[in-house]
Amino acid sequence: MDPIFLKVLIGTTLLASSAAVVGAFSYLKGQSLVGDAIAHALLPGVVLAFLLGDGRNPIFLIVGALVSGLIAHYGIGYIQSRTKLKSDTAVSLVLSTFFGFGIMLMSLIQRSGQGQQAGLERYLLGKAAAITMDDVYIFSALAVLLMVGVGLFYKGFQLMTFNEDFASAIGLPVTFIRFTFTVLTVLAITIGIQTVGVVLMAALLITPSAAARAWTKSLPTMLLLAAVFAASSAITGTYISSAIPKMPTGPWVVLVLAFFGFGSLIFAPEKGWLAKRRRAMANQKKTVRENVLKLMYQQEERSDLNVVLSDTDILDIRAMRPEKLRNALRDLKRRLLVVEHGSGYALTELGRSEGRRVVRLHRLWELYLTERLGMAADHIHPGAETMEHVITPEIEELLVKELGNPELDPHQSPIPYEEA
């Protein structure tokens, strides 16, 4: 394998996954923007370190970035505690001031002519191809440091993120924990901006966690998944940029990450968009089915006979889209709730009980609305049309208990209970 490619691959993978693990806590704390602000705020530190050091010494750059990032971080905190500015205002204020200052310093150096050859610009948009073997060693060391740091401070970071007041109350050294977290964040950003640059760094901190959170509810799993997403994005991004000539690595890494992010939002179980859609569709179908059963049950109630209804009969009684009704009837038949009877449909014993349940819930809810919420009897029907499909057996039990086993609904119709 091409040694340059390998260098870039190792470098980006290490920094992406370690940044993701650290960024997870900012994400959970709802401070996604702080990472962005600190990334921008590193610029003046990096440029000054370049001026003071010999330009290419990575240790100098890291120290410069660290100092600059810490000043920015505590600056944001100071502004928040001493003024009435909202936190997003404080964050943007620091971000823009530091970034502006950094750009100004950069133009000064470039005018003096030393900037170009050293490639100060790489910190703006990142330049993975410029990674040297020394960089790879330093990245590896830092990545290990970050992982070990998060592992060591796991309890502290977890409690600080979930409930900082409690952490202070039990006497944990909260200031120290917070300081450690800030140092780790700044270090992650410092190595990150070499590849993706100041501007895209926030993506590396936050997107992996946003993607991982959609798949899991456990913090350790979330940290692991975030690291895996970040590492896969780094590997894929590096491959794409090396396979196609003149393609930058950083933006590709960020794009692949975004793909993971949006993919997770769409496909994740429970919270994902698709899962929500599927739940909504299932409940829509359930509503139509239950409405059909209710309608058939009410017809039987009125005539005291087992009735047979064709789809046109049903449509005459209750307006709905004919194809929805056809689907519902097919489902009902499959579930043995109705049977075909000549040219129409009749309730089975199972279907009758189900229809009775829906009618019962409808009337119970109407009674609850008049008795407990003091609503007038002519205003309660629409609400009950919805709730009859929502109420679970547990809630039904509560309703019956709270209303004292009622016999009649507000319209004096009997509430049909299942015969024991």
């Binding site: 959970l28 709802g30 009435k84 060591l152 401070f153 309890k155 502290g156 977890q158 409690l159 993120t161 979930f162 409930n163 007041d165 409690f166 952490a167 202070s168 109350a169 039990i170 006497g171 944990l172 050294p173 959170r213 899991t216 509810k217 456990s218 913090l219 979330m222």
Partner: protein, 267 residues
């Protein structure tokens, strides 16, 4: 003499340089259920947070069992308001209860078997054992409150400070919590509860601190729960006091001159 659980001495605390507690001074007995009662914005939560060292007083001091908080921290447990945290945090019930076992000296150590045993016991006491691996985001308000109480039980402290534990919980949970508090009292523990509901205060507490920015009264409930004192606490703010508070805040007056420190005299 009965040992004092908490002593609050001439305490003045401000929030964004506006005083929320003015020269509050009282002490609490041990082995009682104590209510800190007062209308909205009367400084009840601030009182609790100051005792827990989460807010710095402008003057005065607080002591627990006759000592500064840092000396007795492991004997004190704190239950913050339920709404003060994000319940969407990725953790299950057990994770949160185990936080009650975190200490300064085990911060870098793994959770021990003993910690797990204590947390399990605490969950049993609040009747949530079957929910141990339920996501905290899927709990009802009453269950969330019980998780917080279990976490505080896991601390195995002698004094418990709880901020509005009865807010937003169902009647069954309220009864269960009350039952638990009485058991704790019978074991000699002290429970201090911030509470805003006058209706229930008389029934729940043995001892009451009536607060409205300043101290209205503190003592056994028979002495404090009188019509006159309640009226004084709930009959609206003291206009002059709140006007002065506004002035101090907007005009940037120092609440206490820096030289004026009423700290506990060194022995």
């Amino acid at each position: 003499m009965i040992e004092k659980s908490i002593e609050v001495h001439n305490l003045t605390v401000s929030y964004h340089s506006k005083p929320v507690l003015w020269d509050v001074d009282f002490s609490l007995p041990t082995g009682k259920i104590v209510g800190i009662v007062g209308p909205n914005g009367s400084g009840k939560t601030t009182m609790l947070k100051t005792i827990m060292g989460l807010m710095k007083p402008d003057s005065g001091y607080t002591e627990i069992f006759g000592q500064p908080l840092d000396k007795v921290r492991e004997r004190v447990s704190y239950v913050p308001q339920r709404e003060s945290v994000d319940w969407d945090f990725p953790a299950d019930v057990m994770d949160v209860v185990l936080m009650g076992r975190y200490r300064k000296n085990n911060l870098f150590r793994r959770i021990s078997k003993e910690d797990k045993r204590i947390a399990t016991e605490a969950l049993e006491k609040v009747n949530l054992l079957e929910f141990a691996h339920r996501q905290i985001s899927q709990l009802s308000g009453g269950q969330q409150q019980r998780v917080f109480i279990a976490r505080s039980l896991a601390q195995q402290a002698d004094i418990y400070l709880m901020d509005e534990p009865f807010v937003g919980v169902d009647a069954a949970t309220e009864d269960a919590i009350l039952q638990l508090l009485r058991e704790m009292k019978n074991q000699g523990k002290t429970v201090v509860i911030v509470h805003h509901d006058l209706q229930t205060a008389n029934e729940y507490f043995d001892h009451i601190v009536l607060l409205n920015t300043r101290l209205v009264a503190a003592g056994p409930k028979e002495e404090v729960f009188t019509k006159e004192l309640l009226q004084e606490a709930y009959g609206g703010r003291l206009t002059v006091l709140s006007k002065l508070g506004d002035l101090i805040s907007t005009e940037e007056f120092p609440l206490r001159e820096p030289e004026f420190k009423e700290n506990k005299p060194e022995k």
